[in-house]
């Protein structure tokens, strides 16, 4: 398995207490975590701050991480805790709109439709946080339901139903769009 083969060097580096583990964890998790954090926080700047806090926390918890059954689940648990801490610190509720900074960008360089990104961002922002996180991991990080269930420690049915509810809501919100 690809995931297992990428976990092994991380576990080995953690077992050696080798700082190279930070780079390996970055390579393995940074993109997934950053997408997840942007979905949770709906802000690129906030996601950057929280990503840094997540990595610092990972380093401090590295001995436990080395013994964790599932690295993905442990790393994403840290990320979710940091998101919760962030909301607590900022006294911001997950549903409140943050100061606008774009966290979605056009996928193709030739598609310079800023308004599309803004509209999709606004539509995603109206989803509950739990649904939005799953939609983003599934659509943008190409994760399977099984992988998301493992990452977020949720049942497969919960992940699938949250995704379906999320898409149904997006369908209503984006009914004026033509693909």
């Amino acid at each position: 398995m690809d995931k297992l083969s990428s976990e092994d060097p991380i576990r080995a580096a953690l077992a050696r207490d080798d700082p190279v583990a930070v780079e390996l964890i970055w390579d393995r998790y940074a993109c997934d975590l950053f997408a997840f954090l942007q979905a949770a926080l709906r802000s690129r700047h906030d996601a950057e701050d929280v990503l840094q806090a997540v990595f610092v926390r990972i380093v401090r918890k590295r001995r436990r991480l080395a013994k964790a059954d599932c690295l993905d689940a442990y790393v994403f648990r840290i990320a979710r805790n940091e998101v919760a801490d962030f909301f607590r610190r900022r006294r911001r509720k997950p549903g409140e709109t943050p100061d606008g900074d774009a966290w979605l960008a056009a996928a193709n360089a030739d598609e310079q439709r800023v308004d599309l990104a803004e509209d999709l961002q606004a539509a995603l922002a109206r989803l509950p946080q739990a649904q939005r996180e799953i939609v983003v991991l599934k659509v943008y990080r190409d994760k399977t339901f099984m992988e998301i269930a493992g990452m977020l420690r949720l049942s497969l049915n919960t992940v699938a139903s949250r995704y379906r509810y999320g898409l149904e809501k997006l369908r209503d919100l984006l009914k004026d769009f033509r693909s």
């Binding site: 930070v22 990503l51 840094q52 966290w103 960008a105 598609e111 599309l116 999709l120 939609v135 984006l174």
Partner: protein, 159 residues
């Protein structure tokens, strides 16, 4: 009319026209610097933390052990109730046999005032000697072929 799956595919295609920002090189550098710094701080903190932690843990374990030993030691040495049938009577009033205190009483005897015990034994010996000399029973207990053990032991054993 499109099916739900077609609708979902359409939404997914639409969503894929945009994507979340990737972490920039500056962000990678910043995060890795912070993480490496945290690693160094954490590693530097370990050498003095581990012995202190071990000392604290061993102190706590020793305190728990001493407390438990005191607690259960007191309970173990507390006088137990001896079975009456085993300790109350002996078959003969022979002094040699009377000197052999039943095992069930030895634990109690260790916690009894020894001078009082000797005094009592001396009194019993006197009584027996008088009985042998006079040939008459001096007390109700000696009319029975089985003699009673000292009343103090008897009382203490039933306490």
């Amino acid at each position: 009319m499109s099916t739900p799956n077609e609708e979902y595919d359409r939404i997914e295609r639409l969503l894929k026209r945009v994507r979340p920002q990737e972490p920039s090189a500056e962000l990678e550098e910043r995060v890795q610097c912070a993480a490496q710094e945290a690693w160094r701080e954490d590693t530097a903190g370990i050498p003095w933390r581990i012995p202190i932690l071990r000392l604290a843990l061993s102190t706590a374990a020793a305190a728990v052990l001493v407390t438990l030993a005191n607690l259960y030691g007191d309970r173990a040495s507390y006088p137990r109730r001896a079975p009456v049938s085993a300790g109350t009577y002996v078959e003969s009033c022979d002094l040699d046999i009377m000197g052999e205190i039943p095992v069930s009483f030895t634990r109690y005897a260790a916690t009894t005032d020894t001078s009082a015990l000797f005094n009592h034994l001396r009194a019993v010996r006197e009584t027996l000697r008088e009985t042998e000399e006079n040939g008459l029973p001096q007390g109700p207990g000696l009319s029975d072929p089985r003699s009673h053990l000292p009343p103090r032991l008897h009382k203490g054993a039933n306490a």
